[in-house]
């Protein structure tokens, strides 16, 4: 998948699904299905008459957001091919119904609210507030300069420090963010990719200072570079260089930080960039297979690293299609790892994932409606069996969220968990004619994409030629046009619109963060041992130059000597250069 090559496996899988659809399964006997067929015919004749159940005369056309055409009603006929082992039991291969045998009865999902803004002090305060309100996992957002590997005093950072997240220019900032938060007692997700190795080292450095062994650290620094080229576009170096750093991190963490989920393979950004549910599923899983191949190339055994790969999906407005996507994802991952990569160990077959409700679905207009959207999306994630969840705040189409908006978002999860009764039964939509049918449809779409990507030369090539980026851009334009033409509704935007001046209060970020960050960075540079910093950076640079070296050990040394983020990333710029995106217009 990573480097391409025609593999008949993908085409065979897609064909298998189609062929199975034509066959009869064992769950329903032929006679029972015949009776349903007769009943359905009578029902259609009585209520739809000669025009049948076709929606041809409807303006909108009935289809999922991905464009899968829908019937008005699903019956046992649509799942008459069902073989129960395909669906199975939670915690049992192929895990369609969930990764744990007890699911939310044993333990609710982790409520993990993404937060970070302004100065490290601001973020520290917000994290502590969330912990007080019952949040169970931390999640940190960084600002643009940090995400692109520039220090706060760099010319390109001007005006951007602390705007979209917290700024981290050296390990000192990380110490402030986690001040008073014992790192052995929380799990932390850091959304960072291009400089993920540096931030992981800084987090490990803070743990060491707190006296916490790094082997006990739990959490993730996203580190999913493939989706950066596909969708989020926050890269520094060419793909090969970034993948080499990811490889080093895999090898390092397998040995030193065995509880750390070192790659969080993300469909979230692929979806936000405008892809369909089927594309999100296919491109994300393709990336997942890519990392499996990367680990194998590094000489690791799948059993050593697959349990440390976790996933991160989007949940947006087409309720049932989202649920089908989550369920399909688990089944594809387990099957492909078992069948194609020969994995036996059960833990390596489990797809565990975090979900975030869709930022792109939030509207600037009538922002309070966003609380409702988020609740519906969160419910889909829970029905899809997510392991952790972030719910967006209603004001996020305007700015970073206020405290009040964040609280409502967290309460939304608590209401689903504690008032609705939804978590009482595992995979409650399993067996729904519609949901099982849709799960299979979307699975088929995914296998077709795997085949296309592999045939086109694999992920690396598909990224460099812009194939995946163009697929997403085309779909995104299709969706925008559908809204513009009124084929899809967005309440408050192309329907029920009204003019409003300033409906909500929003969070303001000023230049204070930039000034205080620059001051702290200057102090760090003054206080550190310059000779040691220089030696550590040079050692790390040499490791960068040597393809066979592991660069994480010298990087950890460099961050603990307070080499800055920018200095470390610059060493890489010197060795590997930059990446220019192919023309995707």
């Amino acid at each position: 998948m990573l480097r391409g090559g025609k593999d008949a496996y993908w085409r065979r899988k897609a064909k298998e699904i189609v062929e199975k659809r034509a066959r009869e399964g064992t769950l329903y006997d032929g006679k029972a299905i015949e009776n349903v067929r007769k009943g359905l015919k009578q029902w259609e004749d009585a209520f739809y008459g000669t025009r049948g159940a076709a929606p041809a005369d409807e303006k909108r056309g009935f289809q999922t957001a991905s464009g899968i055409p829908l019937k008005p009603l699903y019956t046992p006929i649509d799942v008459s091919n069902a073989e129960y082992p395909d669906q199975g039991f939670p915690g049992v291969y192929p895990f369609l119904r969930g990764v744990h045998p007890t699911m939310y009865r044993g333990r609710p999902w982790t409520m993990r609210m993404f937060s970070g803004f302004g100065t490290p002090e601001d973020t520290n305060k917000r994290l502590k507030l969330l912990l007080e309100h019952g949040e169970t996992g931390l999640s940190v957002a960084f600002d643009m300069p940090t995400l692109y590997g520039y220090d706060c005093d760099h010319q390109r950072a001007h005006g951007e420090v602390g705007r979209c997240g917290v700024n981290v220019s050296s390990m000192k900032d990380m110490e402030v963010i986690f001040d008073g938060i014992p790192l052995d007692r929380v799990s932390t997700s850091m959304t960072i990719n291009a400089p993920a190795t540096v931030l992981t080292c800084m987090y490990a450095g803070v743990a060491k200072k707190q006296g916490v062994p790094i082997a006990r650290l739990r959490g993730t620094a996203q580190a999913d570079m493939l989706k950066e080229y596909i969708a989020q576009k926050e890269w520094v170096y060419p793909p090969e260089a970034h993948l080499r750093l990811v490889r080093d991190l895999m090898v390092f963490a397998t040995k030193e930080m065995p509880l750390w989920n070192y790659i969080s393979i993300s469909g979230y950004h692929i979806r936000e960039a405008g892809s369909s549910a089927a594309q999100e599923l296919a491109f994300t899983l393709a990336d997942g297979f890519g990392y499996v191949e990367l680990g194998l190339e590094a000489g690791l055994k799948v059993e050593q690293f697959a349990p440390r790969l976790s996933f991160f999906f989007n949940s947006t407005m087409d309720f049932f299609e989202e649920i089908a996507k989550f369920r399909a994802a688990r089944r594809i991952w387990a099957r492909v790892l078992s069948e194609k990569y020969g994995v036996k160990d059960k833990r390596s077959l489990l797809m565990r994932f975090h979900t975030q409700t869709s930022g792109a679905s939030l509207t600037w207009q009538q922002p309070l409606n966003n609380a409702v959207r988020t609740a519906i999306e969160a419910l889909a994630a829970v029905l899809g069996g997510t392991q952790s969840l972030h719910t967006n705040s209603y004001d996020e189409a305007w700015a970073l969220p206020t405290e009040q908006a964040v609280e409502v978002a967290l309460r939304t999860q608590q209401i689903i968990a504690e008032e609705t009764g939804v978590p009482n039964v595992i995979d409650p939509l399993g067996g729904s004619y519609y949901v099982e049918w849709l799960t299979e449809q979307i699975e088929e779409e995914a296998y077709k994409y795997f085949d296309r990507i592999d045939s086109a030369g694999g992920l690396l090539r598909a990224i460099k030629t812009g194939y995946l980026q163009r697929e997403i851009a085309e779909n995104s334009y299709r969706l925008s046009k559908r809204i513009e033409e009124g084929k899809d509704s967005v309440v408050g935007v192309n329907k029920y619109a009204k003019s409003e001046k300033k409906p909500i209060e929003t969070l303001k970020i000023n230049f204070k963060a930039q000034r205080s960050q620059i001051r702290r960075l200057a102090a760090v540079k003054l206080e550190r041992n310059q000779a040691k910093v220089k030696a550590a950076l040079s050692k790390m640079g040499k490791a960068f130059e040597n393809e066979d070296a592991n660069s994480i050990y010298p990087m950890l040394e460099a961050v603990t000597q307070y080499a800055t983020l920018g200095e470390i990333v610059d060493e890489g710029r010197r060795v590997w250069g930059r990446f220019e995106e192919p023309q995707i217009l």
Binding site: M144, A157, G159, A273, T506
Partner: protein
């Protein structure tokens, strides 16, 4: 007079750009396609150009319009910078429009600098395209 009418009706050349550290290109790519479908010649800056590079590109490509988009909150630094650079480099007649997540209170200052449009999420293509056409017509009449 005929010459002037022809000039006014000439195809609009538009540079679509994100002048900052912001990879969120969904909106800008959608807009680029919408401008293209509306009959304009579209040039896309690619990702992560500095304000200096955007201004240089606008001059080199001899565009009528620069359409700026930022979703990262840095518009108050980056948009005025592009405008000032354009003025300095002899591109005073280039129409500058902007969009993204721009709070109401920031708008007067940008408008005063001649950066108009300032469309937020959910704006219609039609409205945006019309705004661009209107401003170009006005600019061309002035010439």
């Amino acid at each position: 007079m005929a010459k002037k009418t022809a000039a006014i009706q000439k195809k609009i050349r538009i540079l679509v750009a994100k002048p900052g550290l912001d990879g969120h290109d969904r909106g800008v790519l959608v807009l680029a396609r919408a401008f293209r479908d509306a009959g304009m010649e579209v040039i896309y800056s690619g990702l992560l150009p500095s304000p200096e590079q955007v201004a240089q590109m606008a001059i080199d490509e001899d565009v009528d319009v620069v359409a700026l988009s930022l979703l990262n909150g840095a518009h108050m630094t980056a948009f005025p910078k592009v405008k000032k650079l354009l003025d300095k480099m002899g591109g005073k007649d280039i129409v500058v429009v902007g969009g993204g997540i721009i709070p109401e209170e920031d708008k007067p200052k940008l408008l005063k600098l001649g950066i108009t449009g300032l469309y937020g999420p959910g704006s219609s293509f039609e409205e945006i395209v019309e705004h661009v056409r209107g401003r170009v017509r006005k600019e061309r009449r002035r010439e």
